[in-house]
Every structure is written in structure tokens, then in C-alpha cells.
């Protein structure tokens, strides 16, 4: 006899719960759907009866989603958890994954790709029957890809590095396609392998995806590893260095154009190198770099005075342009945008900055 799974949906918005119930009724395994409008109620329901899956919102009054997930992870380790949130910030995704959730979906993304969302949930419910171990671990991307291929998996690996998102399609243990930073196929795969850190998640396989990579994955991994080694070793060669600098300049200019920003100024701390600017004249770049240094000092002082925590970013505007200052570990970035640019400016700037030195 087939088991009927139970799914608990937790959200403080009753209308959204109704919508979720309607959408989840499309799941092929026809699970029983229960709902709760508060974290306290959800925990009581989980205590009272066994559930297979919890779909949880993050922003809720009193006990928020992250608190519920922390309790659930401790008290119900076998329960599958999915975060469905309207908070479009990568920080929340990382925090949720750090709590051991199985999937993180944005509500907007879910409404756009409802079919994929349903498939993800069905796949999660199915995996319960297979058992196995779950956990959080840090592995090299090459190891993860090799592991998926060796086990003859069919999956889509979604890899996130800051604001950058890439996807790898694996079908029956063979790498069939890749997508990253506007590139696809082998070029995208090589680009992804240069990423040093990030997070990954398994999405359901897409067997109908057109195949663009035909080389065996091991050959590609070997080629990429060699290319990474050579780019490190060849740096000593002066002529190679000139070519590298030229390539980097072209790459950065193309990034700037693609993003639609007016200029970027990357400013290292005082005495630790010179600033680098694209899209602006030398004199203006000098002034922008000076202001970035001064502004960073003032902001730090202000933050310390009121105990406001670390600076996330600064944005400013005048009639001529909008500015965003993003602090990074070894550099601060000042990015200029036209006054008309409005949609997702912060996200675009973060993406541009993340790609800048990659």
C-alpha cells in the first residue's frame, strides 16, 4: 500500500496558505496538506503527529521562520524542510542552508516556476523512502561533481557564489550542460570551476535539456585543473602577464557594459596599492577613490559610535547619478549608475562586484 505523506505549511498569511494548498494538491503523490499560521502552532502540530515535509516562511511575528527551523532540526531530524520566503537576500538563503534546510525557494520564483517547484517537492518526498544521510559539509566543487557523476546521478546542481548563480545539468552520471555568468556549455563549466567557494543544491533532473557538452566529465575536470595550474605558473612570464592584463581589462569592460553601470572604482585601503577604475576619467577616478577612502573612515567611525554593526553598503544620489559603495574584504567598490537605473540596483551592483576579481 502506498504511504500518504503529510505536509505542513507554515505561513502567517492565510491567503498564501490557501494558494499553497491549491498548488500542493497538484503533487502526483497526493499528500495530505495541513497548515499553520504561527510557529507555535506548527511546533504543536509536529509534536502531535508525524509529518514528512515542512514548508516554512521566514518573516513571521513572534517566532520567525529561522527560529522554527532551528527547533525543528533539533527535535525532528528526519523531517524534510523547505523554506519559501519573500526575502530576496542571499544572506537568508545561506542562513537557512546553514540550519540544514533541504530547499530554499523565493515566493516570486515559485510562482514563476510552479511546475519545477512541484517537482522539487515530489523529489524530496520520494527521497524519504530511500533513506540515507543528510548533513552540512564543505567540499571542493570538483569533488561534488565527481561524486554526482560516479554515482550515476541525474540532477541539476545549482551553485551559488554571492550573487552569482550557475547550473550544471547531470544526466545518468554524464555532464550534459552548464550555465554561468552569461556563458553556457564547456565555457561555463570552466568558469564555474574557477569559483573558490559557494553553496550548492540539488534540483530535480531535466532529462529533456539539450546536450551541449559531449566531452567526458573527467577529461573536462583534468583540462580545467591544468588550465588553472598554468594560469598560476605562467604569471611569471612577462609577455603572458601583458596578455593577462589585457584580457582582464576587456573582461571587466564587458562586465561593466553588460551590467549597464557608468563606472566602477575599486579602492584598496590606504597604503595597500592603487585604485583601479573603469568607465571614468583618471582625474574623476582619483576624486572618487579619495572620497571612497574618506567615506569608509567616516562610516566606520559612525558605526562604532552607535554600535550599529558592520557596514553592508552605502547608497547615495544626486541629479546626475546614483552611487553605491560596497565594502569587500580587501577593497571597497564605488559603482556609479545613471539616475534612471532603478530595478534591483543593489543586486546588480553586488553581482558586478562579485564578478570583478573572479
Amino acid at each position: 500500500m502506498e504511504i500518504q505523506h503529510k505536509i505542513l505549511v507554515l505561513d502567517d498569511d492565510a491567503d498564501w496558505l490557501e494558494l499553497s494548498r491549491e498548488m500542493l494538491s497538484q503533487l502526483p503523490s497526493k499528500p495530505e496538506i495541513r497548515t499553520a499560521t504561527s510557529g507555535k502552532r506548527a511546533l504543536a502540530m509536529l509534536d502531535a503527529e508525524p509529518f514528512r515535509l515542512l514548508i516554512c516562511d521566514l518573516k513571521m511575528p513572534r517566532i520567525d521562520g529561522l527560529q522554527v527551523l532551528a527547533i525543528v532540526r533539533r527535535r525532528f531530524p528526519e523531517l524534510r524542510t523547505v523554506v519559501l520566503s519573500g526575502l530576496e537576500d542571499e544572506d537568508f538563503r545561506s542562513r537557512a542552508y546553514a540550519l540544514g534546510v533541504d530547499l530554499f525557494w523565493l515566493k516570486t520564483e515559485m510562482q514563476r516556476n510552479s511546475q519545477m517547484y512541484i517537482e522539487c517537492l515530489e523529489s524530496l518526498l520520494g527521497r524519504d523512502l530511500e533513506g540515507g544521510f543528510r548533513g552540512i559539509q564543505s567540499k571542493n566543487l570538483m569533488d561534488i561533481i565527481q561524486m554526482e557523476c560516479l554515482t550515476r546521478s541525474s540532477t541539476v546542481l545549482r551553485i551559488t557564489r554571492g550573487s552569482l548563480v550557475a547550473k550544471l545539468w547531470i544526466q545518468g552520471g554524464e555532464l550534459t550542460d552548464a550555465e554561468a555568468e552569461g556563458a553556457c556549455g564547456e565555457a561555463a563549466f570552466r568558469r564555474i570551476l574557477t569559483w573558490k567557494s559557494g553553496t550548492f543544491e540539488n534540483l530535480p533532473a531535466e532529462p529533456n535539456r539539450e546536450r551541449t557538452i559531449t566531452k567526458p566529465v573527467n577529461a573536462l575536470l583534468l583540462e580545467s585543473a591544468q588550465a588553472i595550474d598554468e594560469s598560476g605558473a605562467g604569471a611569471a612570464d612577462t609577455s603572458d602577464q601583458t596578455v593577462q592584463v589585457h584580457r582582464r581589462t576587456v573582461w571587466k569592460l564587458s562586465l561593466l557594459t553588460r551590467a549597464g553601470a557608468e563606472f566602477v572604482v575599486a579602492v584598496p585601503p590606504e597604503g595597500q596599492g592603487v585604485h583601479e577604475a573603469m568607465g571614468t576619467q583618471a582625474q574623476s577616478a582619483e576624486q572618487y577613490a579619495h572620497w571612497t577612502r574618506r567615506a569608509t573612515e567616516i562610516i566606520k567611525r559612525l558605526g562604532d559610535t552607535v554600535d550599529a554593526g558592520p557596514l553592508l553598503h552605502l547608497d547615495g544620489s544626486n541629479m546626475e547619478r546614483q552611487l553605491l559603495l560596497i565594502p569587500r574584504e580587501n577593497k571597497n567598490f564605488l559603482v556609479g549608475w545613471s539616475p534612471e537605473a532603478s530595478e534591483g540596483l543593489l543586486e546588480k551592483t553586488k553581482k558586478l562586484v562579485a564578478s570583478w576579481d573572479s
Partner: protein, 101 residues
């Protein structure tokens, strides 16, 4: 003003983040404030001073800013330039405060 403080005399162990708005003139003097009187005046004065310095530095760099928002992990400071002075809004941020662009 400050009546309860006079009666009870105790001060909170942890300084809360300021919430509200202040208006500072070009000399950095606080002209008006909606921030709780329990918040230390000298810290509020320092906020005004630093924000004015930030706007002044921007003018020196030939990029005068009409508005600036500083997003800290637990506080957002938004300032609008006002004839050499500024009106400054202070919004404490919780973990789940909406992310502003």
C-alpha cells in the same frame, strides 16, 4: 521631559539603537529631534557631525549628494542634504527587516 528618569533614576544596561529623526544645521547643532530622550545626546550629536562630514567630503570630491543611506547590519541611516545641514532618519534593523535597495 525626562520625568520618569528623574523618578526611577536607573539607566538601561545596554544602549539601544537610536530610532527617529534629527535635523542638524550646517554647524552640526541639533535643531530638532524625534529620537527618544533616553538616547545619549552626545552620541546623537556625533551622528549629526559624521553625516555632515560625509556630505561635505562628497562636495569636495565634486560629487555632491542630495541623499545618502548608510546600511549597517543593525541600523540604517538615511540623510537628506538641507541647505548645508541635514535631516537624518535612523531606522534600527532587525534580522527580518525588509531589504531596501
Amino acid at each position: 521631559m525626562g520625568l520618569l528618569k528623574n523618578i526611577f533614576g536607573s539607566r538601561p544596561a545596554v544602549t539601544q539603537l537610536p530610532s527617529g529623526s534629527i535635523t542638524v544645521n550646517r554647524a552640526g547643532k541639533i535643531v530638532s529631534s524625534t529620537v527618544s530622550s533616553a538616547y545619549p545626546a552626545e552620541l546623537l550629536h556625533a551622528v549629526g557631525k559624521e553625516v555632515l562630514a560625509l556630505l561635505r567630503e562628497a562636495r569636495t570630491a565634486q560629487m555632491p549628494l542630495a541623499e545618502v543611506s548608510i546600511h549597517y547590519a543593525s541600523l540604517r541611516v538615511t540623510a537628506r542634504e538641507l541647505r548645508g545641514g541635514a535631516i537624518i532618519f535612523l531606522f534600527p534593523q532587525t534580522a527580518l527587516s525588509p531589504i531596501s535597495n
